[in-house]
Structure formats: C-alpha cells, structure tokens
C-alpha cells in the first residue's frame, strides 16, 4: 500500500457515517413542482437527472477515482419516496450507540419543514403498511418473516461487461432505436414502453452530467493547486470524467471510473436492496490491464493503486439508515458489494488472470469492511488461485468467501439461463446466485423456519406473545406420530409462505408501477429492447427469492422430537413443548439430554441429515415455482445474513435445547455447538442437501488461526474446499476465530463444542482443554490476529 492509498484508507476508516438530507431536499422540491406533469418513468428519469445536476460534487485530496453518493465520504443519502424518516428516527440515528449516523440539526429542520410534509402518506412504506392485511401483519410482527420491499427498493444486482463496451451515448442510441421500433398500431403497451424508454434516456443523461460536473471541478481544482504532480492528476481525472461514462472506457483508469459512476448512479436513483456489485471485475478489467502494460501507460503497481482507490470508494458508501424491523434484523452499516474473482469465462475457459491476484492482494492489504470479494472456484480453476485465496482467508477477515462456480452455473441453468449467460453469472450480496447483467433477482425477505415449527407445536399460537397467528393444526397431545406432527409443520409452512408471497406480489407490482428503476434498466439486458423496466419483466431473466433461515435449528429440533418423544418415548411431546414454553425452567436435565443425546445436523449422521433433507424438500415445495406478477418465478435461497439474530430474539426456546431469544442457526450452517465431529463431517452433512435447487446456501466454518498455520494448514483448507464442492456445495467461508469468541466459549462451553483449536503438533477441541491452556491459546491467538 503506497502513501496515497494509506492516507485515503485511513480517512475512509476514521470518518464516521453521517446522514445527508441533500438528496431528499432536491427530490422533494422537484416533485412538488413537477409531479403529475409526466408519466411515472419519465418523472423518475427527470428526477434522477435533476439530482445529478444539483447534488454537491466532492473530489478529495489525493483521490484518483472520484464520486460520492452523498456530499462527502460516508455521508448517506435518504430516499423519502421509499421511506420517509420521522424527526424521531433522525434523532435516534444521531444518538444511538450502535450504527449511529451523525445528523446535522439543519437536516432535521429540512425534514420537518419540507420533506416530511410532502412524503408522509405518499412514501412507498406508508402506502404498503396501509394496505397490508391483518394476517400478514400478525406474522410479520411475530417474526415469521421479514419484508425487503417495505422500505428499500427490491433488487440485487451485479453487472456484466456491457459498460466496458458501451458508453451512455451508445446506450442512448440503442434506446432511440427501440423507440423507433415501437408499433403503436399493434402493440397496446407501446405508449407505456415509450414512457419507460424516455425515462431510461433521461437517466443516461443524468450520469453523463454527473461525470461532467466532476470533470469541471477537477479542472478548476487543477488550476488552483500549486502542486504540479497533483495538478497533472486532476487534469487526468478531468479527462477521465469527460470520457466515461459518456463513452466506453479505453484504459484501466477509465474502466474503473466507468464502473464507479455507474455504481453511484444505481444507488442514487433508488435505494436498492442492498447489493450492487460489478460482477466478474477481474475479467472485466483484464483487457485494459494487458493493454496498459503493453503500451506502457500502466504498471502492476499503478493498477493496484487504482484498484485500491476504487476499493476505498466502495467503503465510503454505507447503507442508508434503516428503520423498524429491518433495522433490527440488519444492524449493520454494510451494503454488500461482493466482487467475483476467477470463475469461468463465457466460453467456459478459466477466468482467473493477473487482476485476480492483484484484487486479492488489494483486499488483503486494505482490510476494509467493503467491498468484499469472493473467489469462484471451478474444477478448472488452478490450484494456485485457490492457494492465493487461502492465504488471504487465514488472515482472518472472513473473506474471500469461496463459491463453487460449477454449481452456481448449474443453479442458473436449472432456472432457465443459457450456459453462456450462466457462466457470466455469479454471486452477489452474500451468496445469492444471479445472472450478472441479465437478471432481476429480487430478494423478498427471510423466513424463520424454527418459528414455523413453533406454530405447529402450539396449535398456531406464538409462544412469545400468546397470540393465535397461525393455522389451528392441533395441540401437541393430538399428534400420534412424528408424521402427523410433520404434516402440521408443512401446513403452517404453506400458510406462512403464501401469506408472504401475496404481500410480496403486491409490493413488486407497486415498484413496477411507482418506482421504475430507469437507470438500472439501461444496464440489464434486455430491458431496452423490450421497452420494459427492471421491475416489470424487462430483464432477460426474472427471479423472486425467499431466504430460508434456521435449517440447523429446525432439523435438530425435529430430530430431538423424533428420537426422545416418538422413538424412545423418554418424554411426552406435551412436556417437551411446555418446557420450551417456560424456557427450560426447572427442566435443565431434559434440556441437556436433548442437547447432548440427539443426532444433530452437521455430524454426517443420516438420522439428522435425512430430517434436514425432508425440511429442505418441504421448503422447496412451498416456494419453488410459486407465481409472481411475471409467472412462476419464486425460488428458495438459504441464507440468513444477520437475520438469525433477530429471528432468535423473536423465537421461544426450541426442542433442540436452545434457549429463548438466542440466535437460531445461521445460513445452512449447523446450530452453534451442534457440530461435534469437525469440519469434514460438517461439509458431508451439507453435501446431502440438494443445493442446486436453491439460489445459494451459506456455510460458515470457524477455525482458529493456528489450525490454518503453515503449508499443511493451507493445503488442508484447499482440500476441504475442493471436497465440499465435489459433494455439491455452493459456498463456504471461514471465520478464523478471535479472542472474543474464545472468551465466549469459555463462558458457554456447551455452545462451542465443535471449536477446533490447534494446540501443538495436533488439534483439539477448545472446550476440552483446561483453563490454563485455554488462556494460553487465547494469548497466542491475540498475537496472531494483530
């Protein structure tokens, strides 16, 4: 990392996130003056252009890649048309301990005087909640599911190589041609398409203007700076901003700046949920890298410097502040830019290149919250790439995460993508599979599967509130067999999923109608050709995902019931359910019996893993192929991000021995502490899930740095990854655990029985070591994670 990058990094690292009312004010004034004059898509395009014309332009000292969403680094815009924060919301943002945003009193005044009076009752969130049926509200408030569309725009996006081949003027030409082709004689939708295409056209102008304003500012700053070297840089910056995004980039610098302007455009027009990613960035940049080296305008170091500047820009862009349930379930500053590395090219050849390694080095050196990167590992991916990634993994940042490129391709082909498109696809956000640049894959929210079992065990009653919110499927004493109980679970599941999808479909239709993403639509094939918006079926592929959480917790709970109630008849279902109801009070022996004497998921034990397969099949049956406004586009996804914590708080004690309010299992990982046979058994269990039928799964593996030490540690990790992928795994990531986790393990050894630590020439389970050696390992770990 050179001095410039070091300074920019420090600035990004040390700047606290702040709130900016600028975008909200510009937009509100525009709507007050213009609402009703234009069709909605044209209005959206013009409003976006108006923001790009008026927002503050920022170019910081030393910067080579320029552009901020807000008026300064880490200042986040707000989107009152989607969610209009109240004065109280803003005050809380300013004062709360975790994830606070500095809010200027002047901005609160702007909200009080201008923004709130206009948008209250008009925002998407206000409209949505006014419309939602009682049964939806009951389940939503009880924590059965979350709803992505209630405060941020639906969506999840990665781009393909389009913007490196076409500038905005090229795309405007495509739009003009599409308008010329419209047939008002035979196509009843021609007028709507014409409106949408005009909106797209204005959006292209918007980002051109945005970039030109940067060029002007850079030129002006160049005149004013006494430093000759910096003057040259600013003049070059001005040149770059005049070139992109108006025209296709010609070199490495322009290519990165192109992406960054486009990225900012998509997160300025709407507050999209919550992942905008460049897709296969290494493959996109590689031709520019090679050309730069060949013509002498670029060196490996200067390429890395530019990439580092881009990395820091992404880190400067925290998520707009969330409210309500969404804030509770996603308590993080992150928006997720997850860069795909390696993988395959469109023609099926290995996609790794020198830029792959440069990107890995950049991630390793900068150690920023965002962007994160992942490595797409195909059977064709060279061992060298995977080893380079493993080296970064063991530094303990949790990235790069590792994906099975061959599975990601199969998953896409199962849902109708062509082979070539699927190869260009990848994963974004956390683990979500998508066809980069060609698909709208809208995530609609998380589903709390252990809570669905809670309903089935309590005749539809929420144990946390005592309210009847589900179907009446029978009291525990009514179930004569495990099969009957499981049938009740399936009926509750169908009810919960259908209630959610009804609401999702409503919200999706409203986004298509009220908040078309006219800029994003330019970037995703085939919106321009079809004259249809990103939300309205314009993209070549359209997918709706529901993300299922807690497969570990529910599997273990069902396994406990199956064994102790129905097979060994050690305890009646009634008593077990009552014990859950009182959070195991006076039932510690029963709780420990189920916790320690039940086959659990994650141990390569078919007794538990068969239950997991059954639950997975039920989830698939309840979700896959369910209809949206565009046809049978629903699929399941198996991730939780941080929602397992929120769902845990909303879920009573579960029959696997888990206490009320504690987290449910994350992603598709085993329950914390339930995997007791090490990582190979974990990946074997996961391998029994037919993952290709999902839009992604997530496996967290915890290791101590010492387990990954040395050449053998790296080789073991690489073999573990390769084997998991042979077994049909989609994703694996490694938490190289830190001191805090070890302290927690000391306090709650029962929850951390699977934590493998490297002691000396061998590994052992941390909780099995005596105090002295636990302390010794903690002190060693602390040194290693400095």
């Amino acid at each position: 990392m050179n001095e410039r990058v070091e300074r920019l990094r420090r600035e990004s690292f040390e700047t606290a996130p702040s709130f900016s009312a600028e975008r909200a004010l510009i937009e509100t004034e525009f709507y007050k003056e213009n609402d009703g004059k234009y069709s909605i898509p044209v209005m959206r395009g013009l409003s976006f252009k108006n923001i790009c014309e008026k927002k503050t332009i920022y170019i910081g000292p030393d910067e080579l890649i320029v552009g901020e969403r807000g008026p300064r680094p880490k200042a986040v815009s707000s989107f009152p048309e989607l969610t209009c924060h109240s004065v109280r919301d803003l005050e809380i943002l300013n004062s709360r301990q975790m994830q606070s945003y500095a809010v200027d009193p002047k901005d609160i005044e702007i909200y009080r005087e201008v923004v709130i009076p206009y948008w209250r009752g008009r925002s998407m969130r206000d409209k949505a909640f006014a419309r939602m049926p009682r049964k939806w509200l009951d389940l939503y408030q009880a924590g059965l599911f979350t709803e992505f569309g209630e405060q941020r725009a639906l969506g999840h996006t990665a781009l393909d190589g389009l913007i490196y081949e076409k500038g905005m003027y090229d795309l405007k030409r495509d739009i003009a041609r599409a308008r010329e082709r419209l047939n008002f004689l035979s196509d009843p939708d021609a007028a709507a398409k014409d409106d949408e295409l005009q909106g797209m056209d204005h959006s292209c102008d918007a980002v051109i203007i945005f970039a030109e304003r940067h060029a002007e500012l850079a030129g002006q700053m160049a005149l004013e700076t006494p430093d000759l070297k910096r003057r040259q840089e600013l003049l070059k910056t001005a040149d770059v901003c005049r070139r992109v995004p108006a025209y296709a980039p010609r070199d490495f610098w322009e290519a990165i700046q192109m992406y960054w302007f486009v990225h900012l455009g998509t997160i300025t027009e709407l507050n999209g949920w919550d992942a905008m990613s460049p897709g296969h960035l290494d493959q996109h940049l590689e031709p520019f890298y090679r050309k730069g080296l060949a013509d002498g305008t670029l060196t490996r170091d200067s390429a890395k410097e530019l990439l580092s500047c881009f990395w820091i820009k992404v880190n400067n862009t925290p998520a707009p502040p969330k409210v309500g349930v969404t804030a509770a379930e996603s308590g993080t500053y992150n928006d997720f830019t997850n860069i795909n590395l390696a993988g395959l090219r469109r023609d099926g050849t290995d996609g790794s290149c020198e830029v792959t390694y440069i990107a890995l080095e950049t991630a390793d050196e900068l150690r920023l919250l965002q962007p994160q990167c992942n490595i797409q590992v195909s059977a064709r991916t060279p061992e060298k790439v995977l080893k380079a990634a493993a080296e970064v993994i063991r530094h303990g940042m949790g990235y790069p995460s590792v994906f099975n490129a061959d599975m990601v391709i199969q998953e896409q082909m199962r849902t109708g993508k062509t082979l070539e498109d699927a190869r260009q696809g990848g994963t974004s956000g956390c683990i979500e599979t998508g066809c980069a640049g060609k698909e709208a894959y809208l995530l609609h929210g998380y589903l709390n599967t252990p809570k669905v079992l809670e309903l089935a065990l309590n005749d539809g009653t929420d144990l946390m509130t005592g309210k009847s919110i589900g179907l009446r499927t029978g009291a525990p004493a009514d179930f004569k067999s495990y099969g009957e109980l499981y049938g009740a679970f399936e009926r509750q599941l169908e009810y919960v999923v259908d209630t959610k999808i009804e609401a999702d479909n409503y919200l999706r239709a409203r986004y298509a109608e009220l908040f078309p993403a006219t800029f994003l639509s330019v970037l995703i094939s085939d919106c321009v050709e079809k004259g249809r918006d990103y939300y309205a079926g314009g993209p070549r592929y359209n997918t709706d995902y529901i993300q299922c959480t807690g497969i570990g917790t529910i599997t273990d709970s069902l396994s406990a019931i199956k064994k102790h109630v129905f097979e060994e008849k050690r305890v009646s279902l009634d008593r077990l359910v009552r014990a859950c109801g009182v959070n195991w009070e006076k039932e510690e022996a029963l709780r420990l019996t189920v916790w320690n004497k039940t086959p659990f998921y994650g141990n390569d034990d078919d007794r538990a893993d068969d239950i997991m397969r059954a639950v997975y099949a039920s989830l698939f049956a309840a979700i896959d192929g369910k209809p949206s406004i565009l046809g049978p586009t629903y699929h399941l996804n198996m991730l939780s991000t941080t929602c397992h914590n929120y769902f845990g708080k909303m879920t009573a004690a579960t029959p696997n021995g888990r206490f009320r309010g504690t987290p449910i299992s994350d992603g598709t990982s085993p329950s914390h502490g339930a995997d007791r046979n090490g990582p190979t058994a974990v990946v074997k269990s996961l391998g029994k899930m037919d993952q290709v039928k999902s839009g992604g799964t997530l496996l967290n593996q915890r290791f101590l740095p010492s387990v990954l030490e040395g050449e053998k540690g790296v080789e073991g990790l690489v073999s573990l990854i390769r084997t998991y992928f042979r077994l049909g795994g989609h994703h694996i990531q490694f938490n190289v655990v830190d001191e805090a986790t070890l302290r927690e393990a000391q306090k709650n050894p029962q929850e951390h029985r699977g934590l493998l630590v490297r002691v000396a020439g061998y590994s052992d389970y941390f909780v099995d070591l005596d105090d002295y050696h636990q302390e010794e390992i903690i002190s060693r770990t602390a040194q290693q994670t400095v």
């Binding site: 420990l592 090490g678 190979t680 073999s719 573990l720 002691v759 000396a760 020439g761 061998y762």
Partner: protein, 298 residues
C-alpha cells in the same frame, strides 16, 4: 467378534501423515512417558472420567448403575464401579465419560469410510495412533486389512515397543510409519519412558531394511532429550537407517500437565517450558548435518 479398545477418533487431522486424515487412537501403552499428551491412553482398560463441574445433580446415573456404585449423593465407589458405561449413556450433562470403548472393526470402518472422499481429494488416509496401536495387534491387523481392501492409505504411529513379528505383520498393510525416537541413551530412556530402547531402535532399523517408508518423530522435550550429544547420536543413528524420509521435531507442549491433573495422574515434568523456535531450529541443524531431512512439527 474381534474388538479393540479405542478412546478417540479424530477427523480432519493434518499432522499425522500427508493430506486430510482420520486418526484412530487405541488405548493402552507399554510406555509411560513423562510428557505424554494423552495420559488417559496409557492404561489398557476403559476408565470412567467424572467432571464434577459439569454435573447438574439430576441423579439419572444412580438407578442405572448395574453395580450400584453411585450413591444418592452422586459419589462413585471406584471399587464397585465395573465401567459398564451406563451412567455415561444417560448423563445429560456429559459429566460422566467413558474413556475407552470396545469397538468392532466394522464399527470403526463405518466412520473411516465416511471420510474416504477427503482421502481421495487430499492424498490423506487413516492413522492408527495411541496409546500404542501395536499392543492391540489382534484388532489392528484386521482393521488395516479392511482399510487396504477399501483402498485407504494407512499410517501407523508407534513407539516401536512391540515384538518384531507384530511389526512385520503390519508391513504389507502400512504405507507410512510415524516412528518415535524418544532418547538414544538406554538409561535415560528407561528413566523417562519406563522402558528400554534396545528393542525400539532395533525394530526401527529392521523396518527400514524391510522397505518401509518411515517418518521418525522426536518429541522435543527441553532438559530431557534436547542436549547436543543426544541430538548428534540421533542424527548419526538415523543417517544409517534405510527408509527414513524425514525426521520431525515435535515441540513439547505443556498441555500434558492439565491432562495429567484431570486424570489424577502424577506429572513429573513440572516447570519445563516449551522449546523456543531458536532452539528447535538449532536442533534441526544438528541433525541435518548427518544428511537427514529434518522438519519442525508433524
């Protein structure tokens, strides 16, 4: 039915031979090394381990004990205890554990076969360790045969303190020997391990002659076997052997002390600290002078 006594099967071990391995730990050892990392492995008989800090006093163990060895106060009469393991089976809290269970070859194979795909991928395999695996030859030989039938690479981690006929029988079934040299001096070897080293060194030499692949391992215990004279003797001895691919110095670690305490066994190495990386490097240098490839760690 042939059974063996096993006290642990560890998956994902990386340091007991190449690749990802499973190590099967057999109970019972003719040696009693002062630094032993698995003191519970020394006795051949299954043992009951009680962890009072885990006991929730539920009393589940009291009625199930066939020998009525557990009182209402949850105190175990060791004279009556027949190690039936029934108390451990019902103990919800894991406060009662049986160390060492009689298992059949097919039961062990069930677990090993689950890991076969990792062996395929990584070049790993099964390592029989201990205790001293060769003390249970009647079980180990059929187990190794089953491994070979299933194309699984095998390693035997041994002290070498076994009759030659036993070692010879393992030869066609074993891909790699992890063979300890604890001390070259017979007197000191007896002092620290309780056994003579004559048979151990003779077996090692014969094993090399017989064409085995061998990794010699030296538990590197400061003050016990780390003096230059012993290192030179070791290097000199190993340099004359056939079949030795590497010598590994396994740094002593004080984890042994806590384990001795838990099993209420006397720990005689008190006050000995792990070796510094400098002393390990220096020791490796001494042995390497004899033309033997020496590495630190397993």
């Amino acid at each position: 039915m042939i059974t063996g006594v096993i006290f642990d099967i560890k998956r994902y071990t990386l340091h007991d031979g190449p690749g990802i391995r499973v190590s099967v730990h057999l109970k019972g050892c003719p040696l009693s090394c002062w630094w032993c990392h698995n003191p519970e492995s020394q006795s051949f008989a299954p043992q009951l381990l009680f962890r009072p800090e885990r006991c929730i006093r539920c009393g589940y163990c009291v009625p199930v004990c066939p020998a009525r060895a557990i009182s209402e106060k949850i105190e175990t009469d060791e004279l009556l205890c027949c190690i039936s393991g029934e108390c451990a089976d019902v103990c919800p809290a894991g406060a009662r554990e049986i160390c060492g269970r009689h298992v059949t070859v097919s039961r062990v194979m069930d677990i090993l076969l689950k890991e076969r795909i990792f062996f395929d991928q990584s070049g790993g395999g099964v390592t029989l360790s201990g205790g001293e695996p060769l003390c249970q030859a009647g079980f180990v030989l059929p187990l190794l045969e089953e491994c070979k039938k299933n194309d699984m690479p095998t390693a035997v981690d041994t002290s070498g303190f076994a009759g030659w006929d036993v070692i010879e029988a393992t030869l066609p079934l074993t891909d790699l020997y992890l063979y300890d040299i604890k001390h070259m001096d017979p007197e000191l070897h007896r002092k620290y391990t309780g056994a003579d080293n004559g048979m151990i060194l003779a077996n090692l030499a014969r094993l090399g002659e017989a064409g085995a692949r061998i990794n010699v391992r030296i538990p590197f215990v400061p003050g016990v076997n780390t003096d230059e004279r012993n290192l030179r003797n070791t290097g000199e001895f190993v340099s004359r052997l056939k079949g030795v691919e590497t010598v590994s110095l396994l740094p002593y670690h004080t984890a042994a002390e806590g384990k001795h305490r838990r099993w209420e066994m006397e720990f005689k190495l008190r006050g000995v600290y792990p070796p510094t990386s400098h002393s390990l490097a220096a020791a490796a240098g001494v042995i390497e002078k004899y033309g033997v490839k020496t590495v630190i760690g397993g």
